[in-house]
Symmetry: C2
Subunit: 266 residues, 2 copies
């Protein structure tokens, strides 16, 4: 398959695909300056699809993917700047959840949206371990509590679990979503964190509550083997972040203040 | 100042602020079960303001900050799930910019929105270095090119700069925004990456184009001293990410595909 195919009846030779290619892999044909892939292109191309995405005339097909096979972009759905700002500001870390599972279909949609998080060289290294079963979530919490006990940290969290099986690790969230990646990935910590931020905001947009699973990650990042073994990830892969997730019990009413911006301008 | 003050004429004693406090710092008063801060609260409180944000009755004042001093939350501005999904999916890495600066006011708004990015223990460690001056951006690019030359990497980027002062490092973006944090912060890499993702999406919402500054960061993460010294950050602080930024020259028309979701369900 050709990397790109150009419908010459639609192409206006405006050079937009040529200038947008991240690795300058598109040049001009000798017979009239139509876009053509350079020889090295198939080897270097990072599959970003910018050439296909940017063409105003729908003239370009990328690896057999034409304009009609892209996700539709409905300009009427674009938020105003005020709506975008409020969307980002109004996400909150949820720590009280309804006793109601999030349907598999909704969880799948959240992961689906996260596929569009940017990643180094568009390698999309983020993989997911979804602990959908609340029983399994609780089994993992038990291990985290053992780690806390061995460490002597967060004694209140240990006591709440021991006394009443109250979960202050994942706050009673029914689900846990873990981002992991191959050790061979280019920038897996950064890419997984961006993908988790997308998941977090996608959840916010769908009325699902989340919170970054700090204590859980503490056990992982401190290499607590019983927990790492319980996750059973493929070899040579590492966890880079996790979110607890469920329906919020309460609705947040307003946006509290944050620290002032700390910026040097130059 | 009291940590929290409760207007007993408004408080319905529903216990919502009590259950939402991340560190269980709010208890019930002996005279009737109104919310009161526990003794240890001022020492442990992470200033998240959840108690203030969640109260449905506007009954709670947090460190002198009452409901009226919060940012307004206009439910009519909330995106539909479809709009939120499209917002996240439609951001793209922009690599062709208009020769037009982004006004200081807009840059300030982007940083302002990023203040609401979640952070470990709500410590909000992210600080910004904004290279607003395009001349200064180009001086830094020159240093990055020297690093590439020493390394023998990206020879095409070096050649483009040498031959025609063409910038393939920051792609002609007029500005560069760098996220940095104290070495003493809890999880600065993760927190700065989340804050940068917020900045990235805030820019998308305001029609400003961005791209993660991979080659620039390569020089930083590989400890290229001439560049690090040129940034002149305060002592004991480290760069954790950067975005190039400016007005996109072209409008993206559609959303190209990404890899299939890779998830284990359990």
């Amino acid at each position: 398959m050709e990397l790109i195919n150009v419908d010459r009846s639609k192409c206006k030779r405006d050079g937009i695909c040529i200038s947008e290619c991240p690795f300058s892999l598109i040049g001009e044909s000798e017979d009239g300056g139509y876009p053509v892939a350079r020889k090295a292109a198939p080897r270097i191309c990072i599959d970003c699809g910018h050439c296909l995405a940017v063409c105003p005339h729908g003239a370009l097909t990328f690896k057999g993917q034409g304009p009609e096979s892209c996700l539709p972009l409905d300009r009427k759905l674009n938020p105003t700047p005020e709506a975008a700002a409020q969307f980002l500001r109004s996400r909150r870390s949820i720590r009280t959840y309804k006793d109601k599972p999030v349907p598999r279909e909704v969880l799948e949609q959240l992961l689906d949206i996260s596929r569009w998080a940017p990643s180094a060289k568009n390698a999309q290294p983020t993989k997911w371990l979804v602990i959908e079963s609340t029983a399994e979530v609780r089994r993992l919490i038990g291990l985290v509590v053992e780690w806390l006990r061995e460490n002597g940290s967060f004694p209140g969290v240990v006591a709440a679990w021991d006394l009443a099986e109250r979960d202050l690790v994942l706050r009673g969230a029914p689900h846990l979503v873990i981002a992991y990646a191959s050790e061979k990935a280019l920038k897996p910590e950064i890419d997984c964190t961006i993908a988790l931020t997308y998941l977090d905001l996608a959840a916010h947009g769908m009325g699902v509550g989340t919170c970054w699973a700090g204590i859980f990650l503490g056990a992982i990042f401190n290499n607590y083997l019983p927990l790492i073994e319980a996750l059973g990830l493929p070899e040579n892969h590492r966890v880079h972040g996790a979110l607890m997730l469920g329906y919020p019990k309460y609705r947040y009413q307003r946006i509290p203040q944050r620290k002032a911006t700390d910026a040097i301008w130059r």
